[in-house]
């Protein structure tokens, strides 16, 4: 079952598609270095719109899938949870890139066809 989700001011997108995209975006940000919740939300928001509440289940799923590991570090008298990408996580990004290379190829073909017909 696929429903179209309309984020605030965003374009309608398939829910599964969007979640998959968000996962890869999070993983990509984590490739730069380990990060924690608040900073992740800010960094991923640069690439795609995301909120704290949306990020949480994604982190949960990545952790459950073994693509991300978690550890706690003391900071100003409280504990901060840091997320770290794992080897399966890096492979996931590669798989995504591969899938979408093909997707982009098809997209350009369709773009070309539609452009030729006068639809912009």
């Amino acid at each position: 079952m696929r429903d179209i989700v309309l984020p605030k001011g965003g374009v309608g997108m398939d829910v599964q598609l969007r979640r998959g995209l968000l996962e890869v975006c999070v993983l990509t940000v984590l490739c730069r270095g380990d990060s924690y919740g608040y900073r992740l939300v800010r960094d991923v928001s640069d690439i795609i719109e995301i909120s704290e509440s949306t990020l949480y289940p994604i982190l949960k799923r990545l952790e459950a899938a073994g693509m991300v590991s978690v550890y706690s570090v003391e900071h100003n008298g409280r504990l901060r949870r840091y997320y770290k990408i794992t080897e399966p996580g890096c492979r996931r990004i590669d798989v995504f890139m591969g899938e979408w290379k093909e997707l982009m190829r098809v997209y350009r073909r369709i773009e070309g066809e539609m452009g030729a017909k006068g639809d912009a």
Partner: protein, 236 residues
């Protein structure tokens, strides 16, 4: 909304989650609020920036299937710090709620223990009354039946004895003997007349006695049977 209020509300909404999951969700949002406050926001602004509570709860409950193995419940800590206990105290823990109930019950015991005992005594007294009434009814009924039967048998026996006496008296005192004979016959006749009634009384007494005893038994068992029914059973 202040942070504590937000954490309380969130903890209540996510109560369906198992403890490790609930803890992780609360820690996640607590950390984000703290980070925002560190950046310069006020607590209320930080909470508001998190967005709609409904959405937060929905996303935190997403993918939760009771019984399925979740992600590692305890991530490694480096390094261990006592502040962790404080974070645990802030989150509304279900263990705390379970702790208060037995404490309140123990504190209130001087009040409710005597009341409970009084209640038990009243219930026992009611049972005693019920069975006293049932048994006395039973005994009285049978006493009546048996006395009637006794009188009837006496009449019959008396009649027979009277006839025998009359036969003995006849040779000496004819008229007396005749009188006694007549009386004996009358009494015997009376006894015979009421014999079917006596038998009937016996049968009635047997049925009524059983009915009284069974009724008392059903009334005694009534409070126990009501508990087995679902809520909304018949009223007494």
């Amino acid at each position: 909304m202040h942070k504590a209020e937000f954490m309380r509300e969130l903890g209540w909404r996510l109560a369906a989650l198992p403890m490790p999951e609930l803890k992780k969700s609360l820690e996640y949002y607590s950390e984000i609020i703290d980070d925002r406050v560190e950046d310069g926001m006020s607590e209320e602004e930080a909470v508001r920036a998190l967005g709609d509570m409904d959405e937060i709860a929905r996303e935190a409950l997403r993918d939760f299937v009771p019984g399925q193995p979740q992600a590692d419940p305890e991530p490694p800590v480096r390094p261990e710090h006592p502040q962790r206990e404080q974070a645990e105290k802030e989150a509304p823990s279900r263990k705390k709620r379970r702790f208060w109930k037995p404490l309140l019950i123990a504190l209130g015991s001087p009040f409710w223990i005597p009341l409970l005992m009084a209640g038990i005594c009243i219930v026992l007294a009611l049972y005693v009354c019920l069975w006293a009434a049932a048994l006395s009814l039973f005994v009285c009924g049978w006493a009546a039946v048996l006395s009637f039967a006794a009188v009837d048998i006496a009449c019959l026996a008396g009649g027979v004895m009277g006839v025998v006496t009359a036969c003995l008296t006849f040779p000496e005192w004819f008229l007396t003997g005749l009188f006694v004979f007549g009386c004996a016959l009358a009494v015997f006749g009376l006894g015979l007349f009421f014999l079917p009634l006596t038998c009937r009384f016996f049968r009635i007494g047997w049925k009524a006695g059983g009915w009284v005893l069974r009724g008392a038994w059903k009334l005694s068992a009534l409070p126990f049977r009501r508990r087995r029914r679902s809520k909304g059973g018949e009223a007494r």
